[in-house]
Symmetry: C2
Subunit: 216 residues, 2 copies
Amino acid sequence: MNDQKISEAVIRRLPQYDRYLRELERLGITRISSGELGKRMGLTASQIRQDINCFGALGQQGYGYNVQELKSYIEQILGLSEPHDMVIVGAGNLGRAVCNYPGFLRRGITPVALFDRNESLKGIKVGELTVQSMEEFIPFLKENPASIGVIATPRQAAQEVADLMVEGGVRAIWNFAPVDLKLPPDVAVNNVHLTDSLLVLTYRLRVISDRKNGEP
Amino acid sequence: MNDQKISEAVIRRLPQYDRYLRELERLGITRISSGELGKRMGLTASQIRQDINCFGALGQQGYGYNVQELKSYIEQILGLSEPHDMVIVGAGNLGRAVCNYPGFLRRGITPVALFDRNESLKGIKVGELTVQSMEEFIPFLKENPASIGVIATPRQAAQEVADLMVEGGVRAIWNFAPVDLKLPPDVAVNNVHLTDSLLVLTYRLRVISDRKNGEP
């Protein structure tokens, strides 16, 4: 796979492709044209063809894409060919939401443990998991290596938790704390900034309101 | 404001600019060059200049940007010049996380009410709010118009809740349910797909692993 060729914008669209292709599979659709897929995804046919050419030619002109084949290929690019175990630190509402979120398991990503430094939460059940104390964090990871770590703590604790994750062999961090983590270059990270997402919404609302009020 | 000129990629960066500019303000920095701002944000100086030119020239060659001025301007573009009230439907972990999330209030976005159709949750305190029954939803909105509605329900309930929000005068929907809502064109929407964000992480992890294993 030539990853150099794939732009950030395409990377961000890959999970969308996966989502739509899974939906097509569920509907029993086995082939789809770039035009039809584009219509569903709100993209042009040529955009779809460009994206898919980015990661290797799969379609045949006039025949469309094989849904199952394209989905497998995209999931391989997304690193879903092998299963992932995921540990979560922070048993507040966000950490609990991640534990219970449907859709991760379907992709082979399994929440395996939940930790919190608040000792009063120790032993509480969250979905299938039981909250463990932070003292058990490194020993747990030694026994049960996990590739993904989720940081669902307040921002003040995030860097310390990230350091512990790296020490415990976690190779990818999904960070919900509003802070830029300092990490070794071989540890992957993706930050979820909920506020950013809300402000994109207020932007769109402002554009619609201006249009209604006749402003440019 | 000429919104036609602003691309999706720039829109997605606007909240980041806001975040970094707020941080600069906090640090007491009043002017910043495109190079320095770029370094902090992980963008090139020319990218920064391009972005900012997109929404109107503010910098003076050689003098950098006035932090406070640029922040105000970006917040105006983001629709933050006026305050927003926000109602939340779904008092599960995600809905509760949104109610308690720090950072919204600072931007003038206030969670004002939380609803759930599960009657057994009625009356429960979540942060400053008390869970209300769905029967109170439309009457509440009539008395207390809110511009933003948050859908934090299972996917099956999402469209029905969206319809109620539109009926109640909500003009922007922040949707956490993994479903594409059907909405009138004058209602803004932004979908949060948590799985998409996690798959961008597994993508990055796969790229790093391939590189380590000497694959292209």
